[in-house]
């Protein structure tokens, strides 16, 4: 009887663990990965990874993590459960940001110093192609329908539309100064691009690659130059988009239908990257200067907690 009780207890606790999501944050200055339980609002563990970890992505089956360790010039393949390094992908020099396709078999890496995008075959761990893009490519995203890979060049001020079938640039859209991050809507119909120096966000129509709308932001008491939009995400219903405003220390809530900025939420210092919880009820932000993450409850659109994670939190993914 006691044995059965123990088994039931164990089973319950295991399923309990499995259903609670884990927030994984790369710590650029600590060469480490922080694991946070967002429900408890607690840092659970910090594990060492390679030198200067920045970009992070999780495979569509949530089994594998990919972490760009910039100073090692590689992207590590990490088991999402055990956090053991399984291998390394050839990423080109100084990998920072990258994107994974919906099938989980291709990785697209921005190589900032070489002005190119590297296409990697994950299964064979080899480079398929290097695509010349503008100067200092940074943000990169794959459309959910797998039609496009879009790369933003910070100095060229463009987003380059790469056809995933041919791995060639099909189209370019000129956007405002220093495009930084980009995200597709779930239906792949729109691409949202932030321009850090101009302080704006462009909504681009995927059909014709033309700008539909340019959104700017205002925060009372903060000068325009401090408003530097970086990370952006749009919810699956296309109701709201969330935009990290960098040194303005705010996340803007944009109505994705009317394009009106409805709210700005105070988070930590130099808010950078964003991630949704799997049910999209919460939003997590990495705050580079205050060394923490903020947890935003999306039902009430309020910041509920901040959790100290380590030095220079950079990228964030959520493991269900």
């Amino acid at each position: 009887m006691k044995k059965i009780r123990t088994i039931i207890f164990l089973w319950l606790s295991l399923t309990g663990l499995a259903s609670a999501e884990t927030v994984l944050v790369t710590l650029e200055k600590d060469n480490a990965l922080a694991m946070v339980d967002p429900i408890a609002g607690k840092l659970i563990n910090t594990v060492n990874v390679g030198q200067r970890p920045r970009g992070i992505a999780i495979s569509p089956d949530h089994k594998t993590l990919y972490i760009a360790t910039s100073d090692d010039n590689t992207i590590q393949i990490v088991d999402a459960n055990t956090l053991k390094v399984l291998g390394r992908l050839p990423s080109g020099d100084d990998p920072e940001t990258f994107a994974i396709n919906p099938a989980g078999d291709r990785l697209y890496v921005s190589n900032e110093d070489d002005s190119q995008v590297t296409v990697i075959d994950i299964a064979h761990q080899k480079i398929i192609k290097k695509i010349k893009v503008g100067v200092e490519p940074e943000g990169i995203a794959v459309s959910p329908d797998n039609h496009w890979v879009v790369s933003a060049s910070e100095t060229t001020n463009m987003v380059h539309w790469i056809d995933t079938k041919t791995n060639e640039i099909k189209e370019n859209t000129l956007v405002d100064s220093r495009p930084r991050a980009l995200a597709f809507t779930d239906d792949s119909a729109q691409l949202w691009v932030t321009s850090e120096m101009a302080g704006t966000l462009s909504v681009i129509d995927s059909k014709n690659q033309q700008i539909l709308k340019t959104i700017s932001f205002e925060v009372p008491g903060i000068t325009a130059e401090k408003i530097q939009p970086v990370g952006v995400l749009i919810d699956k219903q296309k109701q709201y988009a969330y935009v990290a405003l960098g040194p303005a220390n705010r996340v803007a809530v944009v109505n994705a239908q009317t394009y009106l900025v409805e709210k700005v939420l105070l988070v930590g210092s130099r808010v950078w990257n964003l991630a949704f919880s799997p049910d999209e009820k919460r939003l997590y932000t990495t705050n580079g200067v205050s060394n923490d993450i903020s947890i935003i409850d999306l039902e009430t659109q309020t910041v509920t907690k901040s959790v100290a994670v380590g030095n220079y939190p950079w990228g964030v993914v959520v493991k269900p």
Binding site: D113, G134, T155, T156, N157, H160, N172, L174, A198, E225
Partner: protein
């Protein structure tokens, strides 16, 4: 029936044409050339105090060339081709003659890497009225005030912007009692005037001021000499005004009292510095070093920004003509990425590029001005230098 078919064909044809024209690919095939002239004069190598700073003969050009290549990467997608035409006047030559012969009437955009007097000489030639000049070398405040010219934009921070940057940091440190040492050259006097203006502005006290007047070889006597020279009443920080670097390097560690040195040596205020890595700066430092094999200097940074500004405005206005490019450069939308964490733009009252100023020690970046807490109703960048209400620039064309 036949007629109707024909008109449908026409409609289809024109619709396709309209679609194609709105499309970037078609636009990219028609190439527009944007030519930028670059005027400089050879310099004689000055006497140096440190062998660590080699004399760079072609300073400035590296920055312009890097920006041309950056512009052309954008240009290959937008159908614009950028070229740089360099005019290097020999030491004994006349910059006006070179301008009149090679540049007048042939270019819309001119990057000028010349000292203040020669910049003014060029700016006052009649042919510049239909040009835009980008000054990438001077810091003189007069050029941004009484001597300002409508067709000249200044890329590097003025002496007053640098002095204000230092003063803000000193105020934060509460190092409020300054001992000012001024060199003998005219530029040293100008830097000292800017320091005095900042002292007044930020309520600092200049408790002592001395002129450095030695003409003999200071290397032999600096040890004994500086100690004696710096025996004044107590002060917090020694401010040196030695723009050309004739003696300033000898002050640190040799003063009578143990005090930090700031100004033109020690902790310096600069538009650019090798220690600067934030906000993507490491990328441009790497690209510049790869291209030239040396560190980027201020004039290189100025020339880079000038060329990128032209590129940005030409791309946005789809033009290589003076008026559309100038309007974009001076318009509200203009936001230049300068690797200093904030968009850069031109002050409409004096043509000065508003920008953060780096406060750097030889091997570490100490702070970036405007310092946190110095506020301004429009932009904190305008806490540095002459703000609109203070300007003496009224665009008087002689």
């Amino acid at each position: 029936m036949h007629l109707i078919n024909l008109s449908i064909q026409r409609i289809v044809f024109f619709s396709i044409m309209i679609l194609l024209c709105g499309n970037g690919l078609v636009q990219a095939k028609t190439t527009q050339t944007v030519t930028i002239a670059y005027l400089t004069q050879e310099q004689l190598a000055p006497p140096v105090l440190s062998n660590l700073d080699p004399f760079i003969k072609d300073v400035g050009i590296g920055g312009a060339e890097l920006a041309i290549s950056d512009n052309n990467t954008t240009g290959q997608f937008t159908g614009q081709q950028f070229t740089l035409k360099k005019f290097i006047v020999p030491v004994e030559g006349s910059v006006s003659d070179s301008f009149n012969k090679n540049i007048a009437g042939k270019f819309n955009f001119l990057i000028v890497n010349l000292p203040a007097d020669k910049l003014l000489e060029i700016a006052d030639l009649p042919a510049t009225a239909n040009m835009l000049l980008f000054d990438v070398a001077t810091s003189e405040d007069a050029l941004r005030n009484q001597q300002c010219r409508r067709q000249v934009l200044h890329l590097l921070p003025s002496f007053s912007m640098r002095a204000d940057a230092l003063a803000q940091y000193m105020m934060k440190k509460r190092w409020t009692k300054w001992f000012l040492i001024v060199g003998t050259k005219p530029q040293d006097q100008l830097f000292a005037e800017a320091i005095k203006r900042s002292a007044k502005r930020f309520n600092m006290k200049i408790v002592a001021e001395k002129n450095w007047e030695h003409t003999y070889d200071a290397r032999r006597s600096a040890q004994a000499d500086v100690a004696v020279f710096t025996q004044v009443d107590d002060y917090d920080v020694l401010v040196v005004a030695d723009v050309s670097g004739e003696f300033g390097e000898y002050l640190d560690y040799r003063t009578w009292l143990p005090r930090p040195v700031i100004g033109t040596q020690g902790l310096i205020a600069s538009a650019w510095h090798p220690t600067h890595e934030q906000w993507g700066a490491v990328q441009i430092q790497n690209r510049f070093r790869e291209q030239t094999g040396r560190w980027m200097q201020e004039q290189d940074y100025g020339a880079y920004l000038a060329t990128r500004a032209i590129g940005e405005a030409a791309t946005r206005s789809h033009s290589n003509d003076l008026i559309p490019v100038k309007n974009y450069l001076l318009g509200k939308q203009f936001a230049l990425q300068g690797y200093k964490g904030t968009p850069l733009s031109f002050r409409e009252w004096d043509g000065q590029l508003r920008q953060p100023v780096l406060l750097a020690a030889p091997r570490s970046l100490v702070a970036i001005a405007p310092i946190e807490g110095f506020l301004h109703p429009k932009t904190e960048l305008d806490t540095l230098g002459y703000d609109q209400p203070e300007t003496a620039c009224h665009w008087n064309t002689p």
